[in-house]
């Protein structure tokens, strides 16, 4: 007796054009997948010999050619942590505001989006110079982990807002009407209805933005600096993983092996963080309903 379930055959019927589309889509994915494998494979193959417990726990020596990357890991964690602490709440709120504006078809939203595009289109180096001028010099935070975290937050915020905003679009129109008609406060609407629906999207937006932040180099070179010392406070300078990789690869003759080892650590970090959204249950509204 046949039994039908989640793993059943495709829901959509097929045609010749469908086949072509399907082939194209898979082809695109395959090329991208191959690229990922190439990069990842390269990093793993060439970096794996360099990674060990002592590599993670020791201070670097000889400009990073020897020793470990403990201070680099600590600095990275602090910078990224600062960045995400700023980005997540303000980004979610901004996205909510933006999607409210958008619903009312306002021009404001359009202007804000343009602003986000401009920020996205600003080269890292410009952010580095901006961060240096604004946070380090103007606000007097010096070249420090804090300056770097804040600069990074400015860079990542537009991306996060855009991804969140799309996550919020997943709230069905009927649900919005129900919320309106029940005259729920915005707080309840967000906490009990909108955010739970958008939650998986927000988590994956955060992960994606975090990955992006981990990759940033030029902006941090100017704002968190270059120091390999273990940071003692938020106002100390430090060196993040991506800067370390860049420096080892570009400026330190003989730095390649440890550059690859560090890149492997960065990759592992992204991987671990990337696993988070898989643990998040989807609560897509009215997804289960056939009526």
């Amino acid at each position: 007796m046949p039994e039908r379930g989640a793993a059943s055959s495709s829901v959509r019927p097929a045609s010749r054009a469908d086949f072509v589309l399907r082939a194209l889509a898979w082809g695109g994915m395959a090329v991208l997948g191959a690229g990922v494998c190439w990069i990842v494979g390269d990093v793993v193959l060439r970096g794996v010999r360099g990674v060990s417990l002592s590599f993670l726990l020791d201070a670097p020596a000889r400009s990073g050619r020897d020793g470990g990357i403990a201070p680099v890991i600590v600095s990275t964690a602090i910078v990224i942590g600062t960045c995400m602490i700023v980005v997540i709440p303000s980004g979610v709120l901004a996205a909510v505001g933006l999607s409210e504006c958008l619903r009312r078809g306002g021009r404001t939203a359009a202007v804000i989006r343009l602003g986000l595009d401009i920020v996205a289109g600003t080269p890292s180096i410009a952010f580095g110079l901006f961060g240096h001028a604004f946070f380090c010099a103007f606000l007097g935070l010096r070249v420090s982990l804090l300056s770097g975290g804040l600069t990074l937050a400015c860079m990542v915020l537009p991306l996060f807002i855009r991804l969140c905003e799309s996550a919020l679009l997943g709230v069905p129109a009927g649900t919005r009407r129900a919320v309106d008609a029940l005259a729920l406060t915005r707080r309840t609407a967000l906490r009990r209805v909108v955010l739970p629906i958008a939650f998986p999207g927000i988590v994956s937006a955060a992960v994606f933005s975090l990955a992006r932040a981990l990759a940033e180099t030029a902006a941090l070179l100017f704002t968190t600096g270059y120091m390999l010392r273990m940071p003692g406070s938020l106002l100390d300078p430090g060196r993040v993983l991506s800067v370390h990789i860049y420096d080892l690869a570009m400026n330190v003759p003989g730095g390649d092996p440890n550059a690859y080892a560090t890149a492997l650590v960065l990759l592992a970090a992204v991987l671990v963080i990337g696993l988070v959204p898989l643990r998040v249950r989807r609560v897509r509204a009215d997804r289960l309903v056939i009526t």
Binding site: M250, N251, P253, D256
Partner: protein, 258 residues
């Protein structure tokens, strides 16, 4: 050094900024210096030689790192020669050319010579890799050949040493020039490049040190007029015998003026 203060006698922060070529070395030197003077913090930042000069002038940094000789218009600053960095001509490992002299090199870079055959190599069109304008290595190189930047006929323009090495290694007919230290460690890592002897002098750090290799640039630490004791102490340390192994380890050639 003679007038070096006693260990621990000075304290405060020393900010060093400038050339990314010198920066990794300064991180190491700073860390050593901090061991002798626990009250001192040496903070190294980078952003290019130009930034080194600007930040020293504006007082944002105590010491600037400049990977070339100071220009006449920069005479308001004091240069302290830290080391020399040889510039080696490199070719792909498979290019069978014994050596090259100044004339041929100028011919190749100005587009007069376009085939390896003309300089004793295989019959193959030459791919010229040069540095982007504004780089100090380019200025040193062009100055040595006596050619102007606009005369250079290059098919690839690169920025950093590593990029130059990768470009040449990926193009079997390429010729380029990079820092000797970087080239030597690339060869040690098995990258497919070869350092060409210039005018019969083998390209090596040792030959730069003994002064027989003709192509090299200065690596300078510059200070403003108001350099205080702490800064002078650090600069003297960088130029002391103590610092020598670190400089050599960074693939530069220490200068013998002590």
């Amino acid at each position: 050094g003679r007038d070096v203060p006693a260990a621990g006698a000075i304290s405060g922060t020393i900010t060093v900024t400038g050339s990314s070529t010198i920066a990794p070395l300064m991180v190491g030197l700073g860390a050593r210096f901090e061991q002798f003077h626990p009250g001192v913090r040496v903070n190294v930042e980078t952003g290019g030689s130009a930034r080194g000069i600007i930040d020293v002038r504006s007082g944002l940094a105590h010491i600037g790192m400049v990977s070339r000789a100071l220009r006449p218009e920069e005479r308001d600053l004091t240069a302290h020669l830290l080391a020399r960095d040889g510039v080696a001509v490199i070719v792909h490992a498979e290019t069978r050319v014994g050596q090259i002299d100044r004339e041929d090199l100028a011919g190749i870079f100005t587009g007069r010579i376009t085939n390896w055959r003309d300089v004793g190599g295989p019959d193959r069109a030459i791919t010229v890799v040069t540095k982007a304008e504004g780089r100090s290595t380019l200025e040193v190189f062009n100055g040595y050949l006596g050619i102007a930047a606009q005369d250079v006929k290059a098919s690839v323009v690169i920025g950093d040493n590593q990029q130059g090495i990768k470009s040449v290694a990926s193009m079997p007919a390429a010729i380029g020039y990079v820092s000797i230290g970087s080239a030597e460690s690339a060869v040690a890592e098995g990258v497919a490049i070869r350092l060409l002897p210039l005018n019969g002098v083998p390209a090596s750090s040792a030959r730069v040190a003994d002064g027989s290799f003709p192509l090299s640039r200065e690596l300078n630490l510059v200070t403003g007029p108001a350099a205080d004791l702490r800064v002078q102490a650090f600069i003297s340390y960088c130029r002391s015998a103590d610092a020598r192994p670190l400089i050599e380890d960074a693939a530069f050639v220490p200068v013998d003026d002590r």
